[in-house]
């Protein structure tokens, strides 16, 4: 929860009520939630991931960081089962990713959704309800039941957006939109949440609010967050991995010199980037408390 003196238009300074109920507690015990082993993937003739191995345990809040084009989003799509790796194996919740899609909540960048669209906040959340497999398996009736609508409001309550349920989605701020997209992922009771660049195009206050929310959620849901925003990613995570074609994972949240080298390359002490890199390392070592910008 954020400090009492923090206020912003996104959450109006009140305590986040994101306390996922028993419905989220499934699948927390047992083996790894995500197992990626020796995975390589190429677009045309360009290999973006090479021999990547990653293991995420239940209850982890993992930040995957790296430069643009380093393969972060590709990794997310592989975990979601949207892309098939050329080599290696991927298991999510002990099964093939395509078979457990309903149990995985996906939160893409809000900037990727249609900027102007006639849809209310509540209806956006309802889009996250589970859908059967195949072309003809969609539920036939275009409307939603009273129970489904109530569930959407309950889920919006968790992200402090219930008051805006009837507002058009495109009338919200960037931070508010991202919280609604989190609710859309939560409505299907996922055991795992995948975030792709959750803080892009969000103002600093909105970022703090969003990480407060994620922190509250991480007590009961495994979270994997992909970001190139190093400072924001340093707050509240439990472990970190860097990806730039290859992947290095750390069970703690320290960024080791090898990890920084994978992101930024090697620089001598006279290079201005070297000072920045050392600053990044200290932020992650300290857990980024109060550093989110």
């Amino acid at each position: 929860m954020h400090s009492p003196d923090h206020t912003c238009s996104t959450c109006a300074g009140h305590e986040h009520t994101a306390v996922p109920g028993p419905r989220f507690h499934r699948l927390l015990a047992g083996g790894p939630v995500i197992e990626v082993s020796g995975v390589s993937f190429a677009y045309a003739d360009r290999e973006v991931l090479t021999d990547v191995t990653l293991s995420v345990d239940a209850g982890d809040f993992l930040a995957v960081i790296g430069p643009n084009g380093g393969g972060k989003t590709t990794l997310v799509k592989i975990i979601l089962g949207l892309l098939r790796p050329a080599r290696g194996t991927v298991r999510v919740l002990g099964a093939d990713p395509a078979d457990v899609r309903p149990a995985v909540g996906y939160v893409p960048q809000h900037a990727l959704v249609q900027p102007s669209f006639p849809v209310t906040v509540r209806d956006v959340v309802l889009l996250g309800l589970r859908r059967g497999k195949g072309f003809f398996s969609t539920r036939r009736w275009p409307g939603y039941s009273a129970q489904e609508k109530r569930k959407a409001l309950d889920t919006l309550e968790m992200v402090d957006m219930a008051d805006l349920a009837g507002r058009r989605f495109d009338a919200l701020s960037g931070g508010q939109k991202q919280r609604v997209l989190v609710a859309r992922a939560l409505i299907s009771d996922p055991a795992l949440l995948l975030f792709d660049e959750p803080t892009s195009n969000i103002d600093p206050q909105g970022k703090v609010c969003l990480f407060d929310l994620l922190s509250a959620l991480s007590s009961s849901i495994t979270i994997v967050m992909v970001s190139h925003d190093l400072i924001s990613a340093s707050t509240r995570i439990t472990s970190v991995a860097v990806v730039n074609n290859r992947l290095i994972q750390n069970r703690g949240r320290e960024l080791t010199p090898t990890m920084l080298q994978l992101i930024y390359g090697t620089h001598d002490a006279t290079c201005p980037l070297d000072e920045y890199i050392r600053g990044m390392s200290s932020i992650f070592t300290a857990g980024g408390r109060g550093s989110a910008k």
Binding site: L80, Y106, P108, V113, Q114, P118, V119, R139, P142
Partner: protein, 269 residues
């Protein structure tokens, strides 16, 4: 008014306007929210190839044009899906090629004496009863498909990446959306002509989006607006003896400007 309704061609024109409005309201909404207006324009102009083929082979124009345009729309969908940066070029090529095929086939058709203008600018007053029945069947098909896959079309239109992650068959539905657009375009060509079809597919949904907060409401309001524009355009066309298609589009444009002005004033106030 009763005088007008006493004439069969006017009754047919009103029915054609109603059916075209329904299709435009529903499919035009999907075209607008998916930002596929240019592709719909390409489909419309490709349809001229189907018209030319029908005359060349001596086949009924409407079914032949539907088949030709649906195939062209599927080709456009396959060529453009996932390649947004090049989709406009693909559409541009097919837009011109379809027109060229239509013109060449018309040129080489023996004894050709078709009024080209009626296809370019529409001839709602000359829609025969048989075409009305065909349009009704196409409308039923469009409404059934959109009703059945409404939630998936909504998910796909709002956020394609998320829809894919939820198991929505986005590629198949994207192709289906192009097929529905092709079918609608053929229907509206009867009313407004292929040059003006884009206006009727675009203006009513644009107007409706100003005042609605859900996709189905946008479809319903766009249908109503389209019907009003068709009726007003027909009335103006009848009284002033001007081309009906152009008259309908003029009404739609004027109506949209009025609505946009009212909406802007309300927001300022």
């Amino acid at each position: 008014m009763m005088d007008i309704l006493g004439m069969e061609f006017m009754r047919n024109a009103l029915l054609a306007g109603l059916l075209a409005s329904l299709a435009c309201g529903v499919i035009g909404t999907l075209v607008v929210v998916n930002r596929q207006v240019f592709m719909a324009g390409g489909v419309a102009h490709t349809a001229y190839g189907g018209v030319g083929l029908a005359f060349f082979l001596g086949l009924p124009v409407l079914p032949c044009a539907v088949a030709f345009t649906v195939l062209a729309a599927l080709a456009m969908a396959m060529a453009s899906f996932g390649r947004a940066e090049r989709s406009d070029s693909v559409v541009g090529i097919m837009w011109a090629a379809g027109m060229a095929i239509g013109i060449i086939l018309m040129d080489i058709t023996p004894g050709y004496n078709v009024d080209l203008m009626s296809y370019l600018f529409g001839s709602i007053l000359a829609v025969p009863r048989g075409d009305i029945v065909f349009m009704a069947v196409l409308n039923a098909f469009i409404l059934a498909v959109v009703f059945f896959w409404y939630k998936d079309f909504l998910a796909l239109s709002f956020d394609m990446e998320f829809a894919r992650s939820m198991g929505v068959p986005v590629r198949l539905l994207y192709a289906l959306m192009q097929v529905l657009t092709a079918v609608t375009v053929i229907m509206v060509i009867q009313v407004a002509g292929l040059i003006l079809v884009i206006a009727l597919l675009t203006i009513p949904p644009m107007l409706a989006e100003l005042f609605t907060n859900s996709l189905w409401k946008m479809m319903a309001l766009a249908t109503l607006a389209s019907l009003v524009f068709c009726l007003a355009g027909l009335a103006v066309s009848y009284h002033f003896d001007i081309t009906s298609g152009a008259s309908i589009i003029a009404m739609a444009t004027g109506g949209y400007l009025l609505a946009w002005g009212a909406h802007s004033l309300r927001r300022l106030g």
